[in-house]
Subunit: 494 residues, 2 copies
């Protein structure tokens, strides 16, 4: 009987567990599915605690979606990392806690936020111990990601309303010492080197096709398909799903977060939802599935923050000094495709990512009336919005949206410019923020929030710190993946 026939005959799949494996082809303590930041961190901690660890990766190399990223990790608290302190910031744990709780939105997981806030500073030391290096430097300007090897940046909405009212602002985005953008690959190289040094058995081109459960529902292991053969893997201490999110599975996105289909630029590698589906197949509950991250990298230069966003009704909709993902998220909720960033001759600067993000110039004019007309907006709509904004800005106030005073100035110096931020034209990348409900230990929970014995998840497969597009800040995903990957690894090794 061929492997394929055998599989079909047995009737298991990513959504149906295997209940009676014909044999055990491989036995290990801990089986980890996925070699991104979460899987690597889980493997390092489990192996470091003495467990026998086997790591299965569906592709031919390590890194996953983590390696596509900027490598930034959101850290602070306990007074601050050495880099925060050197830059003159004192970062209280409570400020980090309150910021992350707000950033997580109405569905934030207070237990995870608590644990992370308490141990974030120590997590920085752990990263150093894995060989990740950070330059002792801070970039005060608002940017998306350093194109140098500098470290600390404002990577969220810390100084923007309403966050600044509830949590003392502090920059917390830590980017590794890597020259240029895309330090995620560097981060993964360091973590992968540790995984290998610890003797973890890594199997590439090895895909998890089903979980294996006992009749009592306990997860006993996992079926791994490689080169057309199914191997039945017994994992004595647990299976950890670290297989990414579901943004590349457009059917799943359509089912759970159809609004995200408006972003035509999903960011992922595999991210086919298989990790989440495997968890669901044994009763794990997927939560927060309708939430996602969407952005438009419209700054730098930071002078653009002095401009205002309007929708195609000419209405302003957000304080423009929040993180670019927050402003983009509000833009997507405007119920239209045309969005504009209005600038005058003093605030305008060519968007650094303009050519890449397809942010062009939609209209120019010597008066706002001209701009309004060129954009074919309803008569008076843009003009009255700018007039109201200017009237308040001249007094250093933004009573509608509370943009901070430092970014306020009347947009009254012609020529005027409307930047084209159309959702169907510009680069609005996206990824999902829903996943399996887990305890801070990584234990996967059922709908009654009871742990499913033997099953763990971390990274985008789980629902962790980042849960809300409106509050997302750069570095929250890798913070979540590395830190909670570690918790799962340690718990499994016990």
């Amino acid at each position: 009987m061929s492997a394929t026939t055998e599989t079909a005959a047995r009737g298991y799949s990513v959504t149906r567990p295997c209940r009676h494996p014909p044999r055990w082809d491989l036995e290990t303590d801990v089986a980890i599915i996925g070699f991104g930041a979460a899987g690597a961190s889980a493997a390092i901690e489990a192996a470091g605690a003495g467990a026998q660890v086997t790591l299965f990766e569906a592709t031919s190399g390590n890194g996953g979606t983590s390696a596509l990223s900027g490598g930034e990790i959101y850290m602070g608290g306990n007074g601050g990392t050495p880099i925060q302190i050197a830059a003159g910031f004192h970062d209280e744990t409570e400020a980090l806690y309150r910021y992350l709780l707000m950033a997580g939105g109405p569905n934030a997981d207070a237990a995870k936020v608590r644990l992370y806030a308490d141990l974030s500073r120590a997590h920085f030391d752990w990263l150093l111990a894995q060989g990740v290096e950070y330059k002792n430097s801070f970039i005060p300007q608002r940017i998306v990601e350093p194109d140098t090897d500098d470290c600390l940046i404002w990577s969220g909405s810390e100084e923007a309303w309403p966050f600044c009212e509830q949590a003392k602002p502090c920059p917390r985005g830590h980017t590794p010492k890597f020259m240029g953008m895309g330090a995620g690959r560097y981060l993964m190289d360091k973590l992968a080197a540790r995984v290998n040094a610890l003797g973890v058995d890594v199997r590439y081109d090895a895909r998890a096709v089903a979980l294996i459960t006992g009749d009592d529902g306990v997860v006993l292991g996992v079926v791994i398909r490689s080169a057309g053969q199914d191997a039945y893997v017994r994992a004595r201490k647990g299976v950890a799903l670290c297989a990414g999110g579901f943004v590349m599975n457009r059917a799943m996105v359509k089912q759970h977060a159809p609004w995200m289909l408006r972003s035509q630029h999903p960011i992922g590698t595999v991210d086919d939802g298989s990790g989440i589906l495997l968890g669901q197949s044994v009763g794990g509950q997927a939560i927060n599935m309708s939430e996602g991250f969407v952005t438009l990298p419209w700054y730098p230069p930071e002078s653009l923050i002095q401009g205002i966003f309007i929708n195609e009704r000419g209405q302003r909709y957000i304080n423009e000094d929040g993180y670019h993902g927050r402003t983009a998220h509000y833009g997507l909720r405007q119920g239209c495709t045309r969005l504009f960033s209005l600038q005058d001759s003093e605030t305008y600067g060519e968007p650094a990512f303009g050519p890449f993000a397809k942010i062009g110039i939609a209209a120019t004019g010597d008066t706002w009336e001209e701009v309004e007309k060129e954009l074919e907006l309803p008569a008076g709509a843009l003009v009255s919005t700018v007039a109201l904004y200017n009237q308040h800005a001249a007094r250093g106030e933004d009573p509608l949206f509370h943009k901070a005073r430092k970014w306020l100035k009347p947009l009254d110096q012609p020529p005027f410019v409307a930047l084209d931020c159309r959702i169907d034209v510009c680069f609005y990348p996206s990824f999902t923020l829903g996943g399996l409900d887990t305890l801070p230990t990584g234990e996967v929970l059922d709908a009654a929030r009871q742990p499913i014995p033997g099953l763990y998840a971390a990274g985008r497969t789980a629902c962790g710190l980042p849960r809300w597009g409106e509050g997302y800040s750069s570095g929250m995903s890798l913070a979540d993946a590395t830190f909670f990957g570690r918790q799962a690894g340690r718990r499994m090794a016990q």
Copy 2:
């Protein structure tokens, strides 16, 4: 061993199926959980097709949340019901299809909408056959629900943009011939009488505490708890979960739709989510769990539709001629608690539900400047919004939100009034729109959209026609519950 000890020892619960029942206490063809409109309709069809049907209801009477409703059912197509035709409307099936597809939102189920649009007209005849009577009358004014025994009303956003652009408008809300509001009880009395006449075995005070599955995952039956005793019920042809939604389970609402917690008036009877949890316990996938219905009954009188809604930034946010649930839903998304309906002396009329819904007067004035000041809104914000609206309305246009011309007039006749529609003060009732993913036949699907043998769901326990607060129209829930309850009943009886 007492019943309680026995249960605990067996380890099953609403989220953990029972795998090895010690015995069968009762055998039936079809077990239906819940005696609301969905359960009753399923029972009628299954019993009518010759199946042995047992209906378990957790409370001591029938009706469920359906009996709390206005009894309105959204129907039409195939030229129209006799009542639509008598009122001068010709309702094409395609118009009904397109309207329901839009009303279902980005996650609408095209297969369900198709089937319902095709058979909605026949469903009207079925209701007549069950003894439900309708008066041949039409109320052309925009109301929430007849307080007479009249039948046909505009119960959605059919004439409002953008719906009117894609589907020819037609009134489709059919309310039974029952004097006064609250015809849901009348509807349930009729359906319950049929259930009893067909010899369905109805068990009250009988709660489903777990599903029973075979090792192969097939649903074999259900554990029913009554008077402290657990009975193991074998259902040869299937179990149908018709147990309502989860709006009364505030922990579930917090987990899945935290934004709905802003509504302090959940509408439900049991609606504790147990139907959904039972389905999930055997691999059924709950979808659309973040969506819900919220409303504020701010009209009649319909003259109020000529006013405009603003948020606490003084911004308008919706065309006011949509269904009250649509306008309320947009209000909730404004990120503030203060919302106002602005009226002038020609449009103002005391809101019919004002005292009940706690809609008071927030401010009055001889100028809009006075009103703005009294509301303590940002200087110029309300005034510029009204000025822009008036400028367009004077030309019979609403280029920002496309309110229909018949509702447009400048708000320029003092004295002016701002109605107080605060979210934390007024009556914003809510219910959930997420549930188990099902086929139009009622078969419950897993995460791979494969049916779980032996398991069915209908009504709010399933995710049916209504899926989107912004598109919800009165009568969609009972249309869904009765029609798809019938489909499940018929399928199980096969």
